[in-house]
């Protein structure tokens, strides 16, 4: 039995022009500690899959099984890193992380232990120096680091990331990708990440799940990336396997599944 299973999930939305089927028969088995990327064109339903995994949307058919139990409501054990960080602007970085920690460990950790744990997690994403700053006082990359720390501090079974680095510039994105690889290697967290960026997908993932275009989108193909870890972006740039994997994803996106015919 796999750790996390997406079992024949389909979803229909009620729109003004009738029912809209966004996903059809999406099935995927994910092992513990695996890093999965979801890639596909805009509007293909990647975010919908992630929202169903998080429990924010309820699937019309099928469901999510985590450690043998069906889950259908949001919970801190499936923490979400949102694209635009979603930090509470009225709280400091520390307080943002604290909000989740207090909720998850209210019965198991003392105040001092919580403080230590929050600081440990802020340190993990290299943001300790800014812990008392408000989100508007720090850069976009730093905000996203705090967003990741908030999730990690809840010790999730699965870390869900919705285009976490999409809004960042290329250099900042590279830094954060490196940080994420480090954290993944250290903690062995299971990660499901949505991305638009082919290089990012190949660099970070164990498997890349490529989605077909909607409506009624589903999994088109799965590519296993067998590159040894730790991965180094500079060395990989010339690596034949890396280039080949990259090529395959590009072919899927731009050849087999051209841009959506219907405007998404």
């Amino acid at each position: 039995m796999s750790y996390l299973e997406i079992s024949s999930v389909g979803i229909e939305f009620n729109t003004e022009s009738g029912k809209f089927r966004a996903l059809q028969d999406v099935s995927l088995k994910i092992e513990k500690g695996e890093f999965i990327s979801l890639i596909g064109h805009s509007g293909c339903g990647k975010s919908t899959v992630l929202n169903i995994l998080a429990g924010l949307y309820e699937a019309t058919e099928g469901g999510i099984i985590l450690e043998g139990k069906q889950v259908n409501s949001p919970s801190p054990d499936r923490a979400v890193v949102f694209q635009n960080h979603a930090l509470l602007p009225w709280l400091t970085c520390y307080e943002n992380v604290e909000l989740g920690v207090k909720q998850v460990f209210k019965d198991t950790k003392t105040k001092a232990e919580m403080k230590e744990w929050i600081e440990y997690n802020l340190d993990l994403v290299h943001i300790s120096h800014a812990k008392n700053k408000k989100p508007h006082e720090i850069s976009g990359g730093m905000k996203q680091r705090v967003g990741i720390a908030r999730c990690l501090a809840m010790q999730p079974k699965v870390l869900l990331m919705d285009e976490p680095f999409g809004a960042l510039d290329a250099l900042t994105r590279a830094h954060l990708q490196d940080s994420l690889m480090e954290i993944h290697a250290d903690l062995g967290t299971t990660v499901v990440m949505i991305t638009h960026d082919v290089d990012e997908a190949v660099l970070l993932s164990d498997r890349i799940v490529m989605m077909s275009n909607g409506p009624a989108a589903t999994i088109g193909d799965i590519l296993t990336v067998d590159l040894p870890r730790p991965r180094d972006r500079l060395a990989l740039a010339e690596d034949a396997d890396f280039v080949h994997a990259r090529q395959q994803v590009l072919e899927f996106l731009y050849d087999k599944h051209k841009f959506p015919t219907k405007a998404a």
Binding site: S75, A86, W90
Partner: protein, 340 residues
Amino acid sequence: MKDEDRNVTTTATETYTREIKLDLSKLKLSPKLTKIVRSVSLSAAGIFVFLILWQATANSIVTSLGQFPGPTQVWEQIGNLQDDYQREKDREIAFYERQEERNARTLERDPDAEIRIREYTGRPTFIDQIQTSLVTVMFGFVLATLIAVPLGIICGLSETIYSAINPIIQTFKPVSPLAWLPLVTMVVSALYVSEDPMFEKSFVTSAITVALCCLWPTVINTTVGVASVDQDLVNVSRVICLSTPMHIRKIVLPSAVPLIFTGMRLSLATGWMVLIAAEMLAQNPGLGKFIWDEFQNGSSDSLGRIMVAVLVIGLIGLVLDRLMLSLQRWLSWDKQTVLR
């Protein structure tokens, strides 16, 4: 001789010019000061032009109660009202002194005698009326806010309740609270019966009328504020599994604070306007009654006194709004935004 004279004059002028230049450079050094000086002088200029236009217009309007009051007459009446207040205060003090003396004498004659202490019931002065109006508006406003903010939060959180309540809100919102006044008066007379009432009936009536109009802007703005909380933040709250009270405290209220305050400021402003009208209509004590009494009085001073009341009403409205703004600044997490 003449040359010397000229030399002296030149030097004086030079010194003078240099001083001005120095002053200007000082101003340039601190842009903040320049800004303040600029805004103060512009306000002063605006007020000055207004006063001149006002006096000129007032001089050319003659009513059956005499000339329309200009700034000079208003100034005179401010003095008169101050004197009235002083005279009334003196009378009050004298009244209590007489009463105490009388009681002391009674007790001297017979230590067991029952002494009566009467309240002084003089004519309320302008200052008294201002106080009455202020207390009434604050009471009505606080009452309305205590109802409106929770109601707005509920409406903002639940689409169902909002749909159920919205038609009622939209129907009552455009009703002038003065239309409620007769009903409120009768209901208060019927229900607010007690031997030793804490508040005057007229006070309760005015306060409830104010509350009725303070309700709507706050309810509507709070609803909008709560309903427009960033969906990402709502999702964060769902993922963390915050309880509803925590969700309201940690996510909803901080997000909605700016709009709640917008509503409260609108409410207070309309409440203050309505209160004056209600006091005029119902003859409840306050600034409105002062204006109406002066109008009925019809002396040559009346229009001037009314004009004083008009200005005071305006200034109090301004101060109330500024106070709310300061409160908002103090409570808001976002110190960046410019509040107007």
